[in-house]
Symmetry: C2
Subunit: 472 residues, 2 copies
């Protein structure tokens, strides 16, 4: 690690008040660093905005490959495309890491309608749902919250279809917080409903907009006995069903889906690296997930993230920056329904005896960049936050405590500081897990600015290292 930075001297200790005085004393010497860094970062943004490859690469992934659920032919095509792309950029090493992934198929039929008029309700089966084995008709019981469903008496839902009509909280500025408040209903709702006797489960999609595009996403059964078919209704369909119930007191719906489980299959993480010139065994990982849901094109979720991670390495290489540490981009497989790629990668790192300086994930869409959240010690967060002023010319205003990412999370066990790239979240849940998550809904400059922002922080971490761990 490079130990010459004055910022380092502070952050290696957690005595922040003393550091503050020291910081002022060192201001004149550190400003020379800051100026060099400012120029380097300006160069990184210029490269991303005028000679970037992110947008064209995302187009290829979305249009030439398409969506790519774990275990699908699309996923395997994506693996081949990604490996070839990394190889074309002449990184020092490119390889595949095997990982066994679940295979689930949606099937052709996927319908839901309201009786007696057979009014169609727009639906998508939830990922891992079982099929209905023909039309499934029953009376609907509506719940406004997951808690209300949990509170329903045992057996009270015998033979019913549960309708979980829980809206995301529009008051939360961070839409991921609103999503987090409802995702448990999708993941565990079917199981809870089945335990109380329900034979089917439909839910309001996890989106903040009134529209006709249902959002899929993963759910898990607890065992064999709670495997009831589970669908997401579009927000408009949920509203219509709820209004019907309010008006008529009761409702019967018919749902049908042909989803199927299959045995696990082998797939791969795709990994490329620029090997560190001084510390080849000290790694900074940057990644996103290559798999997507089986609707739309996985453009924001998470085509943007893998393409930006690739762009970090490409820009560093093209800029002639020779990193001291190994910079590695990882296209993780199976984030959406298992997160097995992230676990496999962490395990492989451990087996290789590598030390991780930091890991960064981009999995919040390709929107205009806002900052970073860091899952690490206070000293490490404070250390990174010192750099935020270097990002202010690009309208990036925070590096603060928060979540890293699903795929890099298994690296936490070995003490790796985890960094989540944070773009603006307002539009994310308009497209998340829907047919609308397509290339056309990604803005070129927003995608590029994100890549430049990520590259710049990686550049700084490589140049100045991270604080030594303090063992209490």
């Amino acid at each position: 690690m490079n130990k010459t930075s004055p910022i380092d001297l502070c952050s290696h200790r957690s005595q922040l008040l003393n550091c503050f005085a020291l910081g002022i004393a060192l201001f004149l010497t550190s400003s020379a660093f800051a100026q060099e860094d400012s120029l380097k970062i300006r160069g990184i943004y210029d490269a991303a905005l005028t000679e970037g490859r992110a947008y064209e690469n995302l187009r290829q992934l979305c249009k030439d490959v398409g969506n790519r659920l774990s275990g699908s032919e699309g996923a395997e095509k994506a693996v081949r495309w990604s490996k070839a792309k990394m190889e074309s950029y002449g990184f020092d090493k490119v390889w595949l890491e095997p990982v066994m992934v679940p295979k689930w198929t949606r099937g052709e039929t996927e319908t839901c309608y309201l009786l007696p008029d057979r009014t169609p309700l727009k639906v998508l089966a939830l990922g891992f749902s079982v099929g209905t084995d023909g039309p499934l008709e029953a009376e609907v019981v509506e719940f406004q919250t997951m808690q209300a469903l949990k509170d329903a008496p045992e057996g009270s839902l015998e033979g019913k279809i549960v309708f979980l009509n829980q809206a995301m909280n529009a008051k939360l500025i961070d839409t991921f917080s609103a999503y987090g408040g409802c995702a448990g209903g999708r993941v565990r709702g079917p199981s809870v409903a089945a335990e109380k006797g329900a034979i089917g489960f439909v839910m309001r999609s996890l989106g903040l907009r009134a529209d006709d595009f249902p959002h899929t996403g993963v759910m898990y059964y607890s065992g064999e006995t709670d495997s009831i078919p589970s669908l997401a209704l579009s927000t408009n369909a949920s509203y219509a069903l709820s209004q019907y119930l309010e008006k008529n007191g009761s409702a019967r719906i018919v749902m049908e889906a042909n989803c199927e489980f299959h045995p696990d299959v082998e797939s791969h993480n795709v990994v490329g690296e620029i090997t560190g010139s001084t510390y080849p065994n000290e790694v900074i990982t940057i990644g996103g997930h290559l798999d997507s849901w089986d609707v739309g094109e996985g453009a924001h979720d998470d085509g943007a993230g893998v393409i930006q991670s690739l762009e970090v390495l490409r820009i560093l290489k093209e800029s002639g920056i020779k990193p001291e540490h190994t910079i590695r981009c990882v296209f993780f497989m199976n984030e959406e329904n298992g997160a097995r790629g992230g676990r496999a990668y962490a395990e492989n790192c451990r087996e290789r005896g590598e030390k991780h300086l930091a890991a960064m994930e981009s999995d919040r869409g390709g929107f205009t960049p806002r900052g970073f959240t860091v899952d690490a010690s206070s000293a490490e967060i404070d250390y990174l936050a010192e750099w935020v002023s270097l990002f202010e010319p690009y309208n990036i205003h925070f590096i603060k405590k928060g979540y890293g990412g699903v795929d890099i999370n298994p690296l936490k066990e070995s003490g790796t500081p985890l960094i989540g790239f944070v773009p603006d979240s307002q539009r994310y849940f308009d497209v998340h897990h829907t047919e609308n998550d397509v290339f056309e809904n990604v803005n070129k400059r927003e995608l590029e600015l994100g890549a430049a922002t990520m590259t710049s922080l990686i550049y700084l971490i490589d140049k100045y290292g991270m604080p030594e761990k303090i063992v209490d």
Copy 2:
């Protein structure tokens, strides 16, 4: 003006260092204010996000009214719609302010093609361009910059069509700066070309994306003799024409347009106000422009701005906040090609003998809010900037020196501090002045967050007033 705020005590003087010490002393008392303000602002955001009318009002303006160039039937329909809408909200006063506006019509024919294969080039006439009076064919001379066009020898363009192929600078993070660097070429390029003998003018559209949607916008002739027909080419068409020229050394194009000037007609600013309970003659104006170009729906430019300004008053009224000063929303007419509404409003204010506390404009699109720029004295800017921490929970990070807005600019003469609302700028020039500026390209939450941000700052200005003017 309310003189009780500790912040006021500071800002009424420009002795900022003394103020800093005083500020610390007053910290404990002021924190009670800050907490009350935080809660009030949280309430404003909640109201905008859960009971807002901005999105539905914008839908009506875009879909029921449509585009609304000054002097068009659409503009008059917009005036009627706006007045009725303000009246429906029960504001204390609603009125129309007459303003004479130019009338220019695009005509039906609008074509351009490259010879010899008649390859079509996507075009839109620039606003105020004359027509061609039948097909106009000539050789094309390309210029990469406005300066190069200015440097062309007198008479060197005799009988030619000038092609100004000047690209916006993608490196500038603020896309309005990139626009500003090129807009002069659109406004004055035709006149400069004509002075050197050109008989027609085509230009690369002012957009940052490669696409098939030309961007219109205003241009002005210097007199009668330089009135040559002027069109904007889509960025893709510009690229194609430039490539053809590079390959073949020369090119001939045919352009045709039926644009026409008509005599000025009367139109109106639409004004609504909540009259101040304590200082009715002290006004805070908030506005955008009601007119739009005659393509698309003027959704971002500037449907978003007028609807957000309306929402400021509506939210204040619905929240039961009784402002001490008069809060007035103004839908200005004719920003796009004359800015006559803004001048008329400032003149009317002067005649009424009103004092303006501040004026705010929203005319940068309905995107996710980022901050405010202020065109005022340093003391006034510093005063407003003190409040930025109240906005940080909403990811709003700056209140800083900068531009106010075209429509409020005439109020500057009387010393009014001008405030420009600044949303994220990355997507604006994808839609600006094109067929793509439609309701569907506005995100509901981004629009609402902007309205809440504007309302919150207006609330603070009304509550605490502005610093007294210092006469040097």
